[in-house]
Amino acid sequence: MSARVEPFERVVEEHGTVVLRVCRALVGPDAAHDAWSETFLAALVAYPRLRPGSDVRAWLVTIAHRKSVDVLRVRARQAVPVGDPPEPVSTGEHPGDGRSELWAAVAALPPKQRQCVAYHHVAGLPYDEVAALVGGTAAAARRAAADGMSTLRRTLREDQ
C-alpha cells in the first residue's frame, strides 16, 4: 500500500510553526527566519525524494539542524563592524511578554543542551531520534535536555 503524497503546502501548514520555534531555539530569534527559509527551501527541493510514510517532522528537524549550523556560520562571518547597525529583524515577539527572555535564556544554554531542548521539548522528537541528530546515546540526550530545562526554569524564575 503506497502512502498518499501530500502537496508540500500541507507540510508547511502542519510543521511551519514548530520548525520556526526549533530554529529560534537553535540560532536565536534574529537568525531564526533565515534558518527557517533555508530549511524549507532545501526541504522543497528534496521533497519528491522523501520516502512515502516517512516522519515528516523528524525529517524537517534534521534539515533545520544542518541549516542552523550554516546560518550561524554565515552570521559569524558577516559580524564585521558597520556604520549603521542593521534594522533588527521582526520576530513576531511582543515586547514585555516574557518571551524574549525565554529565547535569550535558551540561547545562553550550551549548544548540546539547546539542541536537545529544541528537538525534544519544542519539536517533540523522542530521545532516540534526538540522539541520532546530536550524537551520543538516547540517555545522554535525555540528560542534556533535562539539564537544559532545569537551567531555563531557574533562569526564568529569577527573572520574575
Binding site: 498518499r4 503524497v5 501530500e6 502537496p7 508540500f8 503546502e9 508547511v12 511551519g16 510553526t17 520556526l20 520555534r21 531555539a25 527566519h33 527557517w36 527559509s37 524549507f40 527551501l41 522543497l44 527541493v45 521533497y47 519528491p48 521582526s90 520576530t91 513576531g92 515577539e93 511582543h94 518571551r99 525565554l102 525534544h120 521539548h121 519544542v122 517533540g124 530545562m149 531555563l152 526554569r153 526564568l156
Partner: protein, 203 residues
C-alpha cells in the same frame, strides 16, 4: 508539549510563518522548484481552484470537485512541489473575471494539458477551437477528433477536462438540445451557455 512547563508556543508565530511562506514561494519560483503554484478565486460559479506549472494553467477545479482532492492529484501526477503562490495565477484569474463579467470571449493564457493524454487530449484540442457563444454536439466533436464512433469517450474527456472554462467543454451539448453533464454541475453549464448568449449571470 511533553509536559514542559515552559511555553514555547506563541500566537504571533502563525503570522510570521505566513510571511516566511511568501518568501519561500518567491525563492522557490526563482530557483525553478515551484512545480505547481495554486490559488483559489471566487466566481459566480463558486470558489475555483486554479493551478499552474511553469508551462501554463494545468488545473481548474470547481468546489464540488473537492479542491483538496485536486491538489492531491496534482501532487501525485505532476509533482509534490505544490505551493499556494497566487502570483503565477494572476493572469488567468484576471481573464476569468473578465470572462464572467462578459468582457472576454477567449482566453489567452498558456495551458498545460499534461493531465490529459491520448484521445482525451485530442478532444481538448478540438474544444479549444469552439468559439464563444457557439456549441457542438458530442458526436460532432468525436468526428472532429478523428473517431466518429467515440461519442461516449468524448463525454468522458469533457467530464475529465483538467482545465474547464479555459478549454470550453461547456460548449459541447447533446444532439437532442439538452445541455448534458458538466464537471461544475448541470446548472453551472446552463449559466455559462446563458452568459455566452448574452444573458447576465450572477443572480
Amino acid at each position: 508539549m511533553n509536559g514542559s512547563t515552559l511555553d514555547f508556543a506563541h500566537g504571533g508565530d502563525r503570522f510570521a510563518v505566513q510571511d516566511l511562506h511568501e518568501q519561500l514561494t518567491h525563492r522557490a519560483q526563482a530557483e525553478g522548484v515551484l512545480d505547481v503554484a495554486y490559488r483559489t478565486v471566487d466566481s459566480p460559479l463558486g470558489s475555483l481552484l486554479l493551478a499552474a506549472t511553469e508551462v501554463g494553467v494545468v488545473r481548474i477545479a470547481f468546489e464540488r470537485q473537492d479542491h483538496d482532492a485536486a491538489l492531491e492529484e496534482l501532487a501525485r501526477r505532476v509533482s509534490p512541489r505544490v505551493l499556494r503562490a497566487p502570483a503565477r495565477l494572476d493572469a488567468v484569474s484576471r481573464e476569468l473575471d473578465e470572462y464572467f463579467a462578459g468582457r472576454r470571449r477567449r482566453f489567452d493564457v498558456p495551458v498545460d494539458l499534461r493531465l490529459a493524454s491520448g484521445f482525451r487530449s485530442r478532444v481538448l484540442d478540438v474544444l479549444q477551437h469552439i468559439e464563444f457563444g457557439t456549441t457542438r454536439s458530442y458526436a460532432g466533436v468525436a468526428e472532429q477528433a478523428g473517431s466518429p464512433r467515440a461519442v461516449r469517450a468524448v463525454g468522458t474527456a469533457c467530464a475529465r477536462n483538467p482545465v474547464p472554462l479555459v478549454v470550453p467543454c461547456h460548449r459541447v451539448v447533446r444532439s437532442d438540445g439538452g445541455s448534458g453533464q458538466y464537471a461544475g454541475g448541470a446548472e453551472a453549464k446552463g449559466r455559462l451557455l446563458d452568459l455566452e448568449r448574452g444573458v447576465k449571470v450572477g443572480s
